[in-house]
Amino acid sequence: MKKDFLIYGILLAVVLILYFLAPKPVNFSTTVSYIIIGLIVLSLVFVFIRTINGHFVGRRIVFLFVGIAVVLPFFMKVSQPIRVSPEVQTVYDSVARLKPGSKVLASFDYDPASAPELQPMAESFFRLCLERNLKIIIMGLWPQGPQQAEMALQIALADSLIVKKNLQRGVDYVNLGFQTGNEFVIQRMGADFRTMFSRDTRGIPYDSIPLLRDVRNFSNIDYSFNLSAGYPGTVEWVQVAVDRYGLKMGTGNTGVQATGMYPYLRAGQLKGLLGGLSGAAEFERATGKIGTATFYMLPQSFSHVVVIAFIIIGNAAFFLGEKRKEEKEKEKKQ
């Protein structure tokens, strides 16, 4: 109990020091950054050697290393090359090929929990669409999706190039909000959007919105982009809107989902895929506007290296443990 209070006390003291006394913002020089990287590598080697010698590390040490690997790169001046993969390039090309005035449907099927991965994709996608004078229709199958869309839209609208265009809500973009019903919403939209979205988020009737005057169903949509974190999401959109109604669709998924989407991409059911944070960073590179995802990629890479290191250390511990068991059994038999 005393030990716990001591740890919480230390944590509180560190936080207060950082809040009131630390210089803001903190930036490590390139040399300091490489020294820190070297120290982390040396610590991992030390842990590996200790493991080989039979001193296994506790799970809290693993958490500590992951925490350090995530936090320190925020302050480092180290750049990382990002290569745009074909599936990300396909999303970019699909949007870039659309004529000005084309209608794009963006479905936001995620909540704040998945925002670190999907929000950068949304911001880049909106910025690209608005730069190219495409008309955006926003909706969501998750309750908080349209709110996430609104946040991304405000960031895209604040871009200096887009501000000059003086875009109007209802004319250049519209947010239809959330509709309950999962894949059945998509099914009904195949016949008529009005049956599911009678008003936009401001309460304006569907028929009074200039952007939606000629939009009856999926046949009036030129490209669709789905941001998905689970069910309902990309799978349902592919099954109903793409395969049944022929909607042309690209998608942005959380990393957990991404591998499950590659078969759809390979089969031509999806026109492009942004998989997880790396997909978001690649899309930022493709659009030429570096944003949050690129900033997050350095901590991401560091943490992956630490995870891989601990997989190796864990395997070493496992095999050594097995070997020691065998040796003990042999000793007992003798």
């Binding site: 740890i7 930036n27 309950t180 957990v256 591998t259 997880g276 943490s303």
Partner: protein, 215 residues
């Protein structure tokens, strides 16, 4: 007010992360707040979207949709489970939901996840599209097609248990299990990336929005 919100969010974030050290009252408080708010949020959202938004507005509209009453009746029947003496009535709407959903999914999954996936696996090994000269294929496509065709075939062999996995058949099954393991590995890598992204998002909030250390 915004500063207050940031402090509350930081308090809750650190409370949840404190579980990594060990289970503690701070974590319990944060967990209970999260569960309570989530339940309340879903209740309010579904009430305003389903009951008020779809049902009530639908039947009170100038052109009322009385089919909604059928759905509402099934919904009420579902709630009769709470009355033990007539709880059996709840099985009827449940049967309707299970039947309708199974029918809907059967067609969707068969079309999108079976037929089209099988079709996309049937491809020329040399990578060129049908009707084009064989040597127009790129090496990348050719290797990709061979991996997909070979991986699919050997993966299916692994799940064929009517014959003992020995000899050439056993070798194919072994390649199949390696293919499956590589797929799981790729999936695990993406999952790690996904979970790390969430941690990165929270850490950026703590060190950026709250402590102001990140530019």
């Amino acid at each position: 007010m915004q500063i207050f919100g940031i402090w509350v969010a930081a308090f809750l974030t650190l409370g949840i992360i404190s579980f990594l050290y060990k289970d503690n009252p701070w974590y319990k408080v944060c967990e209970s707040i999260f569960v309570g708010i989530s339940a309340g949020y879903w209740f309010v959202t579904l009430f305003f979207d389903n009951i008020l938004g779809l049902f009530w507005r639908g039947i009170t509209a100038p052109d009322p949709n009385y089919m909604l009453l059928v759905g509402a009746t099934l919904g009420v029947m579902m709630l009769l489970r709470l009355v033990p003496s007539i709880g059996w009535i709840s099985r009827w709407p449940l049967a309707f939901v299970v039947g309708a959903t199974a029918g809907f999914y059967l067609i969707n999954y068969f079309s999108s996840n079976v037929m089209l996936q099988v079709q996309s696996t049937l491809m020329p090994l040399l990578g060129s599209r049908f009707g084009q000269p064989v040597f127009s294929a790129s090496l990348y496509d050719t290797i990709g097609n061979i991996v997909i065709a070979g991986g699919t075939f050997t993966g299916l062999v692994y799940f064929f248990f009517s014959k003992e996995h020995k000899g050439a058949f056993g070798g194919a099954a072994r390649i199949g299990i390696w293919t499956i393991m590589i797929t799981f590995g790729a999936s695990f890598g993406y999952t790690v990336m996904s979970r790390m992204s969430l941690l990165i998002g929270r850490m950026e909030f703590i060190f950026g929005d709250w402590l102001g250390l990140i530019r």
